[in-house]
């Protein structure tokens, strides 16, 4: 289909190439250089959406990020993008898009019936109806969700990759329009490390839409191109196009979303789709430009009503013929340029309607010279038309700006370019902890004092003429470079602009007076994306709302995906008027990151799937994989969970593994336990303080189990520590607690007891550890190691020896987490696999069986050995665990005093007990609540909960550990554990040790 609204010439588009795209199922053509919006307009598609609440027909209003209406669903399937702004979507071959918010399409919208009820949906509609009556909430919600639904998110996994890049620079320039380019040129030339980011594909901003203006004697767009060339040639400057600075955080930390492939056809995309730049800048220049304000008049949302700047942009930059007959409605000089641009493009301009009584500036004069009528002291009170603009009602405006009067003149037109002035994009300034202030003279919010190392330049600082923008940009860039590099620098370059662009002041016009009272005539939209009209804000004021933040939430003003970039300032001013206060007193809502929507992909970056968290592996990991292990996550570690043989499930494999350890020999990879080398003359004194028990008298060569408390008296870690020498210990910690314990111990040493002569070194990763467990473990060790005497007398329980295992040096400890005869062999991890292989080989005659964490848990639970973090939860003392024996007397230790607080002495604290189910085959669920009588009236008093629960093959029955109120004195009592499915399991409280309470098995 031909581009029948394409101008015969002009525009920054490549007319030699045609791109085919599909919108709402129909095929169109455009050119490289088009956005989806400009291509649609070139094809005469003006109705692109339906509004979300009233389903009114909507067209394209703006040409950039502030576009509220042309919100589309881009592509389909896994790559679909919801709520893309057509004004930002670069056209590519094969692009597929559809309107959101209407079904089956904007031309025939079956949901438009909602308009008939619009009067029933005033401001606060949700709030009022959803609060009461209660039952209706569900009904309304269903209806609203269906009717409103902006875009839909993809249901398949995102096939694209994303990444992140950290960067450091002297000067970050946000925005590549005239001020930004001038700033980057000045800072770059001064030698500073510069990053210049702009959200568009092409640098230049508004320069790309200017028709006749020249900078330094060359056309503005060409000047921008040359500036980019000069910047590209500087090694110290990094240019980021298609990159939106979306967040400004503490200490000049800014985040930038760079779109790397979205402009390409899906088949031609490669590499990361988006890159999030995380920039630390010494100095920041904000050159984010300004957003043009719409005017608030009746039916101002009709397709064909457009911002004046968008009219210039589509006409000059994209070569689009936007209409046949145009009216320009303005309160300032700037919009006259649109009239001239249209005129030059051959579009008839019926009139410029100017709210000011006597506009006499340079641009109005040029317009009059072109033979275009200027209707001064007048306003457009209402747009006419159904699905498309057909005319405008024009009336005179009184001096006070509060009333319209005189006859209504109807001007036929299919395009209305409007301008209510400009609002600086102060978003990043505000995010940087700046506070925008209202500038009465310029009728806009401008940046206030800087609270970080940043400055605003150009239109975002309220400079609306090009010459000032360039001058302020250059000066700011140079100043930023000077501060960042602490060097004396040359003076900023001056840029000349012709023709001169001095403008007369605007006449603030926030709400165009109507002939009927608000709420009765045509709707005057403030925030088109949320269908918020002036009447909604006035209603909120009448109902007593005073704070702009409350009005925002009551009316939904500024809540859309555009975050009210178009309408917020008008809304605030209308509220101020209604409340009889100044705009400065009313203030703005908070500008929060992100400036524009950011994909979840860009936020997640590459940290997904197997890179989401570090997967820590032991030196024997490959062996476990080769031997069919299933793995369990323990902290960041992958530990073998169990080693199923053919046909085995978890239950049967674990039963086999447990019986092997109890009756023969098993082997487990214990490398993940934290290991800390502790050295120094005060090492034993230090251990006395960090463990509850005493260490001074532990003989060299012996091991001891210890429990570590926090100062609140609660168990935080446990493990076995070995005395390698008089001043030398090797501590083990839990797998998950290793880093925490290391930091904890260092903290005490560095901050509380710096006089202690103790050095700590983590050897967790250095030592690979194989636990050989079971009655036949001694036989295996004897086979693998010939220079250690393994006889019970020479190498007793809880002691260590050094020797040679499989030809390499090893530290062998005789400790047990299973209650069986057991040894742990520690070697340099480079030799871990070698020694493991050798132990497996040596164990073959004895049927050595590898086992995983599940069997380890069963074995330790049979013995009543706790797992910190499973049987404890930060609220459990050693007394609660029945471990009074480990609490040293006559010495201080961390947490000791807390054990004597009134609360920790309570007899009805939850205490560790065993639970034996009535039915020995039933395994209680971990986390199950323990009660006396499940049939008691709700709420049933909770007595405690199950912490560990397994089936013990050795005992041929289930066992469980639980924390039960006063449990230590309740052995023999029957309790109940109600299940989610309604069943109630019965169990008896028992001592928490189920196997070999005397400890005979490990002492052989």
């Amino acid at each position: 289909m031909s581009q029948r609204h394409r101008l015969a010439q002009g525009g920054r588009i490549d007319r030699t190439r045609r791109l085919t795209f599909t919108f709402n199922g129909r095929s169109y053509e455009g050119h490289p250089g088009d956005t989806l919006a400009s291509a649609l307009l070139a094809n005469g598609v003006t109705l692109v959406a339906r509004s979300w609440k009233y389903h009114r027909p909507r067209g394209i209003v703006a040409c950039g990020v502030e576009e509220p209406n042309a919100v589309v669903q881009l592509e389909t399937g896994a790559r679909t993008v919801p709520n893309a702004r057509a004004t930002e979507v670069e056209l590519y071959e094969g692009l597929v898009a559809s309107s959101v918010n209407c079904w089956p399409g904007p031309e025939l919208d079956l949901m438009a019936a909602a308009r008939l009820f619009s009067r029933l949906m005033p401001a606060g509609f949700y709030y009022k109806t959803f609060m009461w009556p209660k039952g209706l909430w569900m009904k309304y919600e269903h209806y609203i969700r269906k009717a409103s639904g902006l875009g839909h998110s993809p249901t398949e996994p995102d096939p694209d990759a994303y990444d992140k890049m950290n960067a450091h620079c002297d000067v970050l320039v946000a925005g590549g329009g005239p001020a930004g380019l001038a700033a980057a040129l000045a800072a770059g030339k001064a030698g500073a490390r510069v990053i210049l980011a702009d959200q568009q594909a092409e640098f230049g901003g508004t320069l790309l839409s200017l028709r006749e203006t020249a900078i330094d004697g060359i056309p503005a767009a060409q000047w921008a191109g040359q500036a980019v060339q000069r910047l590209s040639a500087m090694a110290n400057v990094r240019l980021l196009a298609r990159s939106t600075v979306f967040g400004y955080h503490d200490e000049n930390f800014l985040t930038i979303a760079q779109r790397r492939t979205d402009h390409l056809p899906p088949g031609e995309r490669s590499g990361a789709r988006e890159r999030t730049w995380r920039v630390r800048a010494k100095q920041v220049v904000l050159a984010t430009g300004a957003l043009e304000r719409p005017l608030v008049f009746g039916d101002n949302d009709l397709p064909g009503v457009m911002l004046a700047s968008a009219v210039s942009c589509f006409t000059n930059r994209h070569g689009v013929r936007l209409g046949g007959r145009a009216v320009v409605f303005t309160n300032n000089d700037g919009a006259y340029a649109a009239a001239l641009d249209l005129h030059a493009a051959g579009v008839e301009v019926a009139a410029v309607v100017d709210a000011r009584p006597a506009p006499e500036g340079a641009l109005p004069r040029l317009v009059r010279d072109a033979g275009i009528e200027v209707v001064q002291g007048a306003v457009v009170t209402r747009a006419r038309g159904a699905k498309r603009l057909t005319g405008a009602h024009v009336m005179a405006l009184d001096e006070g700006g509060e009333r319209v009067h005189g006859p209504v003149r109807t001007i036929d037109c299919d395009l209305l370019a409007m301008s209510g002035g400009w609002s600086p994009a102060v978003h990043l300034h505000a995010q940087s902890n700046g506070r925008p202030r209202y500038d009465e003279a310029r009728a806009c919010f401008v940046p206030g004092a800087s609270n970080q190392a940043q400055r605003s330049a150009g239109a975002c600082n309220g400079r609306f003429d090009l010459e000032s923008c360039l001058a302020e940009g250059a000066a700011s860039g140079l100043e930023a470079a000077r501060l960042a590099c602490a060097a004396a620098l040359p003076v900023a370059p001056r840029h000349s602009v012709s023709p001169a662009t001095r403008e007369e002041p605007l006449r603030p016009l926030w709400l165009v007076p109507a002939t009927q009272p608000p709420g009765h005539g045509a709707k005057q939209f403030v925030d088109p994306q949320n269908d918020v009209a002036a009447s909604d804000i006035l209603l909120a004021a009448r109902e007593g709302y005073r704070s702009i933040e409350h009005v925002k939430r009551y009316t939904a003003l500024g809540f859309g995906t555009d975050q009210g970039k178009l309408g917020n300032i008008n809304g605030m001013a209308i509220l101020a008027q209604a409340l009889g206060q100044t705009i400065a007193e009313t203030g703005t809502t908070t500008f929060r990151p992100n400036y524009t929507p950011v994909t979840f992909g860009a936020i997640a970056g590459p940290d997904l799937g197997e890179l989401f968290e570090p997967v820590r592996k032991t030196a024997m990991h490959a062996w476990h994989e080769e031997n069919g292990a299933l793995f369990e996550n323990v902290g960041q570690w992958k530990r073998p969970w169990y080693f199923p043989r053919a046909g085995e499930d978890l239950h049967s494999a674990v039963n086999r593994e447990c019986l092997a350890a109890r009756t023969g020999v098993g082997i487990m990879d214990a490398s993940t336990l934290g290991k800390i080398d502790i050295k120094g003359p005060d090492a034993a004194t230090f251990l006395n303080l960090v463990y509850t028990n005493a260490w001074s008298k532990l003989a060299v060569g012996r091991c001891r189990y210890g429990i570590m408390l926090d100062e609140n008296g609660m168990v935080m870690d446990d493990g076995v520590t070995t005395r390698l020498g008089e001043n030398h210990f090797l501590m083990t910690t839990t797998t998950g607690g290793a880093a925490r314990v290391m930091a904890w111990l260092e903290r005490w040493l560095q901050t509380e007891w710096p006089h202690f002569k103790v050095y700590l070194t983590s050897v967790t990763d250095h030592l690979a550890t194989a636990a050989v467990v079971g009655p036949k473990s001694r036989d295996v060790l004897r086979a693998a190691c010939t220079d250690i005497d393994f006889s019970p007398e020479a190498f007793p329980f809880m002691s260590y020896r050094e020797g040679t295992v499989a030809g390499v040096h090893a530290i062998v400890t005789r400790i047990s987490f299973s209650g069986e005869l057991a040894y742990e062999v520690n070697v340099c991890a480079n030799l871990g696999r070698h020694v493991w292989n050798a132990l497996i080989e040596a164990g073959k005659p004895f049927g050595i069986t590898p086992y995983g964490t599940e069997a380890m848990h069963v074995l330790r639970a049979e013995k009543g050995f706790i797992i910190v973090g499973q049987d404890t939860d930060g609220s459990v003392t050693p007394v609660d665990l029945g471990m009074d024996w480990i609490i040293g007397k006559g010495k201080d230790f961390i947490g000791r005093r807390s054990l004597h607080r009134s609360d920790t002495r309570r007899e009805d604290r939850k205490q560790l007990v065993g639970l034996l189910t009535e039915d020995p085959k039933t395994v209680l669920p971990e986390g199950g609540q323990v009660v006396k009588d499940a049939s008691a009236p709700v709420p049933v008093p909770m007595e405690g909960h199950v912490t560990s629960s397994y089936f013990s093959a050795f005992l041929d029955r289930s066992i469980a550990l639980a924390l039960v109120k006063g449990g230590a004195k309740r052995h023999g009592e029957e309790v109940q554990v109600p299940l989610a499915d309604g069943r109630v399991l019965r169990a008896t409280i028992a001592p928490p040790v189920f196997v070999d309470a005397e400890g005979a098995r490990q002492n052989v």
């Binding site: 990444d163 992140k164 890049m165 950290n166 960067a167 450091h168 490390r193 590499g271 990361a272 995380r278 630390r280 590459p606 940290d607 197997e610 890179l611 968290e613 570090p614 997967v615 820590r616 592996k617 032991t618 030196a619 990991h621 490959a622 570690w637 993940t672 080398d677 050295k679 120094g680 003359p681 002569k757 050095y759 070194t761 983590s762 050897v763 967790t764 990763d765 250095h766 030592l767 690979a768 086979a783 693998a784 499989a806 030809g807 390499v808 070697v827 340099c828 991890a829 480079n830 030799l831 871990g832 696999r833 070698h834 292989n837 050798a838 080989e841 040596a842």
Partner: protein
Amino acid sequence: MSERILQQAPLAHVSARPGAAVAPVTALRYFENGLRGHINLRGDPTDARFAAAAERALGAALPTAANTTRIAGDIIVYWLGPDEWLAVTPGEREQEVVNALRSGLDGVHSSVTPVTGGQTVLVLRGTHARDLLAKGCPFDLHSPGFRPGACAQTHLAKAGVLLRPLGDDGMEIIVRRSFADYLYKWLETAAAEYGWVHATGEAPESRAHLANAQNTVT
């Protein structure tokens, strides 16, 4: 029992994959300099006996300026903290250096702890080495002071690392054993756009380069 002793560097399973012996210079080449001796040393550098004994055993004075290295022949000593250093030695010299340190430091409050099995040395070579690391490292890798002779402990993605710049196009990364596989996968993924080449053998750490690095230490 097998007499052959199998030693495995943390990324031995990666190194075992077929690699490119010759890589284009533009690409990013990765090497593992595995099975080095790694010795953690702690002590008080203001204690003259400690400083002298360490210098005797290592062949050079300990670097006491934060985040610097010192090279003594085939030993590289890294500053890790005000009372902590790492000495990386050829694998076969580890025991000898440990013994020399321990005997020299007898009676001096100190700690000489081998951590050989606990970490490994990766080397990246290529013009994009720093760009690659910047994807996951918040440290300013391009700062003027970060040149041969310097080192920095920071994090790369979610793994703690010790970095040592090797000129403009090279970086040494020391990482803990258990994180090495994760870090390798992260590097390989992040490097796709730069042309990742998994090179065989060890990094070309020429003597000339070491000398150069040493000269820049002040």
